[in-house]
Symmetry: C3
Subunit: 169 residues, 3 copies
């Protein structure tokens, strides 16, 4: 099995195994992460959702590392690099933008563990509200996401994000 590095650690290649690997990192984390960092990640996510929901895809991609990876839909290959993520977000949102539907991402119940001095593994619950003009809001996604986060000075960058949606068949 081929392996690729995340920070100073190695993990199995492949999306599903990557996801399980991140999950196990989160579950087995023994080094606790400070409340300061915990709030920092909450605030980082508050910035990220605004970029995503305002169709500011360049800004969203800039919150990933240069070689960051985004996998938000099972069966769809992960987007890689900032430009790849921008392209993917534009394509993925086309139908929704054409319909005039507004979306709001909510990330919560964050769980953090430390991978090494500058890398965190995070999981968070997620749901997305979609509102079409003149209609009531409705839930369009529920699930959990698994992030690898790099601490960068006072801030954070996403090394990778994998979204696992409820109800996927």
């Amino acid at each position: 099995m081929s392996r690729s590095g995340i920070g100073s650690i190695v993990c199995p290649a492949g999306l599903e195994s990557h996801r399980r690997f991140v999950v196990s990192l989160v579950s087995s984390g023994t080094r606790t992460v400070s409340n300061e960092t915990y709030i920092g990640v909450q605030r980082f996510y508050a910035e990220l959702v605004r970029a995503l929901d305002n169709d500011q895809f360049e800004e969203a991609a800039a919150m990933f590392t240069e070689n960051g990876e985004l996998s938000h839909t099972p069966g769809r290959p992960a987007a890689r690099t900032r430009q790849g993520i921008v392209d993917d977000l534009i394509e993925h949102s086309r139908a929704r933008r054409n319909s005039g539907e507004q979306r709001k991402h909510w990330f919560g119940h964050v769980r953090l563990s430390r991978v090494n001095d500058t890398v965190l593994a995070a999981s968070a619950y997620v749901f997305v509200i979609g509102t079409k003009p003149g209609e009531l809001p409705r839930l369009v996604v529920s699930g959990i996401l698994h992030d690898v986060i790099v601490e960068q000075g006072d801030g954070f960058l996403l090394k990778s994000r994998t979204v696992v949606k409820d109800g996927a068949q």
Copy 2:
């Protein structure tokens, strides 16, 4: 264009321009706000939602400054002063209260920037769940709110709140 003061700054008159002004304050904020204050605002909002959802409108209005402003529906003039806010909340909630529907406000993904030593600009995602007797809960509002918050001793007061709802036509 007439101007009115918010704290030590001036802003354009009119609701829409006020909203844009608050938005730009939030976006351009360069002075960071501490995590302590960030949690303080989370806890302030936890109190506010209980007052709103328990129909404790006097208590909700008391969380605004004496001359506070509340604009929650486009095309409806902003309510001004605590008594004006109480009157507005009573009138706005009448149909819902008569139907027996219970509501829960959720505010999250708070973003804070400092306007001056005692004034914060905040934005937060918002959704409202409505539950009628014997029915499943449903989303009745999704949007974003823009607050100007005054720090008052250990606590906070709302100087103004503007709610921008998704799907408004």
Copy 3:
């Protein structure tokens, strides 16, 4: 009226009076709880929802005290002791698990007050998202919960939880 102890305090017997008692504790709390503890409870809840939503009922029950109590449905007697809570969660979730529906619990807008040196009274807003295979997510519960939480070393244990659901008839 018979009385039973919660930590070093006494409270009226009976579920409804217990709930009202906890509510009044929360409302009348004058001793403030630190932001560190506030975040700690957020993180404790982040662990609890994962146990509940992954059908890890032993793990969920282990987050209660040995003689902990859980009351999540009006008219249904409270489950008592860890084993009683496991049994209750298994029975309560049977229909849902058989349908393949996935659930996500969200707890938020936490409000904390201190009962004594090691006991906290908490309330939190709650909603539950249910997603059946191939369907859109939907809200299946909205309400508020009232917890009595025991501080245990660096962590927390639930002494009791009472869930009050919106729309109950």
